[in-house]
């Protein structure tokens, strides 16, 4: 733990602790609606963190992360509905399934030199295969959707992830915190250094003895596995899965907005981005609603504006700018 935060200024640690305390205490004052928004924010912070490993750390652009969300969601749901396997055990299957998918995509791309934009297209293609494929798998409902049994829960059943929003809130908060710590450790490890070297200049990285194929594979597989956990959470929170929605490219895009706006390759970027995007867009929708406007797609327009503003004004994302403002730049 001491090594984890070595080099972070003291007031940075204080801020971090305060943020965590506020998040832990939030359910005391938040109603179910507000909690649902916080769940969404933390969900995007978590998934953004997972995506960031591939793009932000190792420089491999994936535009098909919905694939891993969907594989995680469907695998754990199918095990639960058909065999009564609890989601926590379902993870033991769902995560490897997504990792395998990541490994296949990574192998095809990295072995045959598919890089950059072409790699991104390949990731989209696989998510699309899954979207169309799952439409025809009647075992998990096909295009008609797959539903988890829902009842009015008086008690929170953490083991089966059946219960009220407050339970889901703490689950996703724990996941987001774990993902943050894991990414922090990864970034300051040998693998993290090698990933950044590959991101910056792959040929130079190779000349320094880095087996770039192997380390890019690690990035895809770890990112895919982490994303699958988000998928399991997604399934048990929403209780319904439609291939058209789960695997849709807009889901992949939605997932990468938080880290892009917050700051690609930074640890706080996905968190800051998720709070800003989801928080503000919900506020916009709500304000419009109160004012009596019902504008379909207002949220998407808002996302677009946010992205434009950030890309033009702060191309490195909000976090690097915010960190400078708060005097939180890392000292070594």
């Amino acid at each position: 733990m001491t090594r984890l935060f070595a080099g972070t200024p003291t007031h940075g640690l204080v801020l971090l602790v305060l943020l965590l305390a506020a998040l832990v205490a939030a359910p005391l004052i938040a109603n179910d609606y507000l909690l649902t928004i916080l769940i969404l924010i933390l969900y995007f912070a978590y998934a953004g963190q997972a995506w960031n490993i591939m793009m932000g750390f190792a420089g491999q652009l994936s535009l098909g992360h919905a694939l891993y969300v969907g594989l995680g969601a469907y695998t754990a749901s199918a095990l639960y509905v058909h065999f009564g396997v609890a989601p926590w055990l379902g993870l033991l299957v769902a995560v490897p399934v997504a990792m395998l998918a990541g490994a296949v995509i990574g192998f095809l791309a990295f072995r045959f030199g598919v890089a950059g934009v072409y790699f991104a297209i390949l990731t989209i293609a696989f998510a699309e295969f899954a979207r169309i494929g799952f439409d025809h798998i009647s075992y998990v409902g096909g295009s008609a959707g797959f539903f988890l049994p829902v009842a009015q829960y008086t008690q929170n059943d953490l083991w089966n992830l059946r219960g009220r929003p407050v339970m889901f809130y703490y689950v996703i908060l724990a996941l987001a915190a774990l993902a943050f710590m894991l990414c922090h450790l990864l970034l300051r490890s040998r693998m993290g250094y090698f990933w950044q070297a590959i991101r910056e200049d792959e040929e130079a990285a190779r000349a320094l003895g880095i087996d770039t194929f192997r380390y890019k594979m690690y990035a895809v597989v770890i990112s895919a596995g982490m994303t699958a956990v988000a998928g399991v959470f997604f399934a048990f929170f929403y209780n319904n899965l439609f291939p058209e929605q789960v695997f849709h490219i807009s889901r992949s895009i939605e997932l990468i907005l938080a880290p892009i706006i917050g700051g690609v390759g930074t640890l706080f970027g996905p968190i800051v981005g998720a709070f800003l995007l989801t928080g503000l867009s919900e506020a916009v929708t709500e304000t419009l609603h109160v004012l009596g406007f019902e504008i379909p797609g207002a949220k998407q327009v808002f996302y677009g504006i946010c992205l434009l503003v950030v890309v033009m004004a702060l191309p490195d994302g909000i976090w690097p700018w915010l960190a400078r403002r708060l005097g939180l730049e890392r000292r070594s």
Binding site: Y193, D201, A204, A207, L208, S332
Partner: protein
């Protein structure tokens, strides 16, 4: 006693073009060996076959008696052969220290140990005061030293310096680089360099290999080589024109 690096009958052809034509030479442990020649003589191609970025069409390259031709660049580096690039390519968004850390982490997974190695290398190459700067903010001479530092951090036995580690440097900077390389050499590092700046070659190299149209036309001490009529005609003469 086998040579540290032995190149035996190495050729590299690109379709019809013969870039390197049956070149043979041996680099002994502890020496500074220079490869010179006019533009297009095949120096960089020869260099690339040693570093693993190109596979020779024929011939053998051995390092410490083992074949390394055809290995990937990262495998060559792990055997103990580090390189710099003709056009410097540090990792731009990483700090000087982190750039060197990447090299040092090749030999240890322990970041604390790698940091110690990085500090040592930074001190030896006058980069310590700039350790927190991003590589992209460095001046050219600093970037060139950073590139050498990063390669050194991989603890090589043989350091390959690609063309123009000196080019673009002012004479005083060249002298500083020469002094650094000499010092490294004195500590046991064998260096193979490709160089245009004759001032550096004369000051550094124990032996020089001259390439012309891909073939070796002379091999010997700098003094002897620069007096060879063939060399004067093909290289120095051509430059003088």
């Amino acid at each position: 006693m086998t040579a540290l690096l032995s190149i035996a009958g190495v050729s590299k052809r690109f379709r019809g073009l013969v870039a390197v034509d049956r070149v043979s030479c041996e680099v002994e442990k502890g020496e500074i060996f220079a490869v010179i020649g006019p533009n297009g003589a095949g120096k960089t191609t020869l260099f690339s076959t040693i570093a693993g970025s190109l596979e020779p069409t024929e011939g053998e390259i051995r390092f410490l008696g083992e074949r390394i031709d055809g290995l990937r660049p990262d495998e060559v580096c792990r055997r103990g052969v580090a390189r710099t690039f003709q056009i410097v390519r540090p990792f731009p968004a990483l700090t000087v220290e982190d750039n060197i850390m990447v090299g040092a982490l090749l030999r240890t997974a322990d970041t604390a140990k790698a940091a110690a190695t990085a500090q040592d290398v930074m001190r030896r190459l006058d980069l310590f005061d700039k350790r927190d700067r991003e590589a992209k903010s460095l001046t050219l001479p600093d970037r060139k030293r950073l590139e050498v530092a990063r390669a050194l951090a991989t603890a090589p036995q043989l350091l390959l310096l690609d063309d123009e580690v000196m080019a673009g440097l002012r004479p005083t900077e060249t002298d500083r680089m020469v002094a650094i390389l000499r010092e490294l050499n004195a500590q046991g590092l064998t260096i193979l360099l490709i160089e245009h700046v004759m001032r550096a070659v004369m000051a550094l190299a124990n032996r020089v290999l001259v390439l012309h149209h891909g073939a070796a036309i002379a091999l010997g001490t700098p003094e002897v080589v620069t007096r060879e009529p063939a060399v004067v005609q093909s290289y120095l003469g051509a430059e003088a024109l």
